[in-house]
Symmetry: C2
Subunit: 498 residues, 2 copies
């Protein structure tokens, strides 16, 4: 068997175990009986251990060294080797004790965070945050970096992206977003958002959400939707992508836009080359690009007037009582309501990025040591005041609102905003190349856009880095311009801003 | 680490993989997307291979040899070693080529059987049956036996039970069953069974079935019920037992008695000692005993008049239209309708065992070589005429009706009837020890019976052989007497037989 063949078979077998692990997690979020969680944790630990041993198998390291000397005969093969090497190096560079210590510490930190948030008292969480930050610094040092420590953490979620590239992108975005949000606030106009808080029966929401997900192109032969507490999208194999969503009878948006969002993630997974499943060419390129696909279908598509020109009458058939007397104009504005708020996950399309920038700035300072954990709440509140014009009334509604840091996820937050930048730039280009997408959407036609994304994004897997991919697809380096154009084009007319 | 500790940890880890494999199968029967089956097969193959390597690991063999010399300090430890040794020997005695050949052959035989049954033509299946029989003979020879080849196959499903023990039991049963069924036929009386073929809405069936399963003691904190095409009960961990059932709007019995049946299997699993999960003391003792638990709740309990004295008014609240004007007496007789039929899975409590005896006799002859595959249909039809008084109108309704032989399951059928014998004998003893179970059932009280079964059967795991277990619980060696008393006591009055 050739070296390349050995590597591919090793990766394919590991991918089978990883996808089985995803099934264990999916079941845990959906159908598992109440008392089966403890044993499930044992199953997960055992399988994770097996996957770790396979990922750090010295045999794999030797094959990868041999492959590096042979050279690659195609862009796909190069991606197989590059990604396998990257994963192997990241896995083997971390001392086993550090991995265990991180697992132990974040498991405890998560519990303490829950407690701390319930008590609305940051002081309870502070010592755990200090420990997590210290371990993440050690992790970054073990992995290594050229410019700054934070790079080593960012690289886990957004490979080949440097902090020095993300900072100017998000600073420019902020410098234009803050005035836009201020102008909206100063307009004195408010969206009729309370329409969304009428009664939307859960059954009808589920059927409408499924119909919309199928209409935009989520393939139910290769996936499904179930109900859970924490919405996500997971992959149990090359043809098995499962969305989890949740329903709130008294709020239309959470399930519907959540479903479009997760379906966007799902269609990306479904568009990855199945033949390369488990290797670079079959893998999503970065969390930012993954998020771009969910945001594109949720925001650029799902909150467009054209989308609702098609779907509003269908919505009326599902929710005749709630939508009685509501005009398309009112509905369109309601789903594009912009107003600064304290909670990230409830934020609108425009202010969302300001929430991310707060976190991105603070976590960089925590990791480089220029901000102490004890000072983080003040830093948080000051930035909310400065960027969003509001000050958190409590730590629970402030620095304690997100689970990420307790789980050791540093370097993750900026990928949300990168996703918004990627999505706007990709959508603008698709619109330019495909003629009027608006006309297509208003006729319920979403296939050309999906096909464009499959050709330019999904089908490429990880053959290019995220920034190369987007530049190849759009002909332009990543910038904040397309997102700002998208927001201004939509929001200026709604809020009568000149 | 002590030898015993090493063995226990090895078995516990293997059990975690086996229970994960069960999740893969469960998901495949319930929620998997249509196009995900091929990759699921790859996941199953990979995980099965891992389990096989662990089960035949020479290290395990060495530990077991060491343990044999140390001796055991408790009945549980003895069971751990005895079962591990038995499984290891069975797994290692089979040459890898034979295992692969059997997998390949039965996989093909299954496809051919489907085709043959659809075409109603045994000749299509005959060459595959010959191959399967030949491989099962080789398997029996590789495993070894003292008295007859069939013993080696029977032992897989009913450990420590010999053909020479089963034969006289089932012959005596047959010699008394045939006259009972004849007397019922001669009575000229027929049950009002068409009541069961009215319209029973699926939703109401599902809710009623769940209510009944919970009432008899199935623990929904440690299990659940889902819908499938092929009902079964599976175990995904010590506290995770899942029932699959199916609903037919036009036939009450299949889902309801199917649910009681699978709940019986499930309560046995739930009653096994969780601390010994994956080792002898935590495992079911035999398929026969497993079947005794399902049959006991389905037949001895679920088809008793006392059960319906409690549940008939509840059934009326679920199915007011179907049960309008139906008396408890009619209902009780309908669910105890006895009449010879061609199809085993639709057979009643009395004639069911005659279907089994036909198969048991024929498969013994196939395995010992005294019956050629080409002569099996005639042998089948002749026995149906002799034991049930009816001749199959086709191979599809005759020898081709069951999937078992195509899957290589020889030695499996007799465990169904052994289950009926065990269940009657256990129930009779429980009734004697607990005072009147009838009174308890008619008050909706099933806990004492379940507790008795937990103490005498479930909690023992595999510490004793099946026959020891039943003899310890009932004070009597296994016989057909209790089952015949149960049937006569119920059926003689219904059919006015003296």
């Amino acid at each position: 068997m050739s070296t390349l063949q050995s590597i591919k078979e090793h990766l394919a077998e590991t991918a089978r175990y990883e996808s089985i692990l995803s099934l264990l997690h999916w079941d845990q979020q959906t159908y598992i009986p109440a008392k089966a969680h403890d044993y499930r944790a044992e199953q997960v630990t055992t399988l994770s251990g097996l996957i770790h041993r396979r990922s750090t198998d010295p045999k794999l390291g030797e094959w990868l060294d041999e492959a590096a000397e042979i050279g690659d005969d195609s862009i796909q093969v190069a991606a197989v080797i590059r990604h396998a090497k990257r994963d192997f190096d990241r896995a083997t560079k971390l001392p086993a004790e550090l991995v265990e210590e991180l697992a132990r510490c974040t498991s405890k930190a998560h519990q303490v965070w829950v407690e701390s948030r319930a008590a609305n008292d940051f002081a309870i969480f502070q010592p755990m945050l200090e420990q997590v930050v210290s371990l993440k610094q050690q992790q970054a040092d073990a992995i290594g970096f050229d410019e700054c420590r934070y790079d080593a953490l960012l690289d886990e979620f957004e490979p080949d992206m440097r902090t020095s590239e993300v900072c100017p992108l998000l600073e420019r975005l902020r410098s234009e977003l803050v005035p836009l949000v201020n102008a909206i606030m100063d307009s004195g106009k408010t969206a009729p958002a309370n329409i969304l808080e009428r009664t939307y029966p859960v059954d009808a929401q589920a059927r409408f959400g499924k119909e919309a997900a199928a209409a935009i192109g989520f393939d139910f032969q290769r996936g499904r939707i179930d109900v859970t507490h924490h919405p996500f999208c997971t992959e149990l194999g090359p043809h098995d992508c499962r969305i989890l969503t949740r329903y709130d009878e008294k709020f239309f948006s959470s399930a519907f836009f959540g479903t479009l969002h997760e379906a966007g993630h799902g269609m990306y997974q479904q568009g990855l080359p199945a033949d390369w499943y488990g290797t670079g060419p079959g893998k999503y390129v970065s969390l930012g690009v993954h998020e771009s696909q969910s945001r594109l279908w949720e925001n650029q598509v799902g909150r467009s007037r054209a989308f609702w020109q098609h779907f509003f009458s269908i919505a009326n058939s599902y929710f005749p009582t709630a939508l009685d007397g509501v005009s398309l104009d009112d509905w369109y504005w309601a789903v594009n309501d912009v107003r600064p708020s304290l909670i990230r996950v409830e934020a609108d399309e425009a202010t969302y990025n300001l929430h991310i920038i707060v976190r991105f700035e603070i976590e960089q300072e925590l990791i480089d040591g220029s901000l102490a954990a004890c000072d983080a709440p003040d830093a948080w509140n000051a930035r909310y005041e400065k960027y969003l014009g509001i000050t958190p009334d409590s730590d629970a509604n402030g620095i304690l609102q997100d689970v990420h840091w307790s789980e050791g996820l540093f370097g993750y937050f900026p990928t949300y905003s990168l996703g918004n930048l990627y999505s706007a730039q990709l959508f603008e280009k698709a619109n330019e190349e495909l003629g009027s997408l608006e006309e297509q959407f208003s006729a319920g036609e979403f296939t050309p856009l999906l096909k464009w994304l499959q050709d330019n994004v999904h089908g490429k897997g990880s053959c290019y880095s995220a920034k190369e991919l987007v530049e190849r697809a759009t002909g332009t380096a990543l910038s904040h311009d397309a997102l700002m154009r998208h927001l201004a084009d939509k929001l200026n007319p709604l809020y009568r801003i000149d």
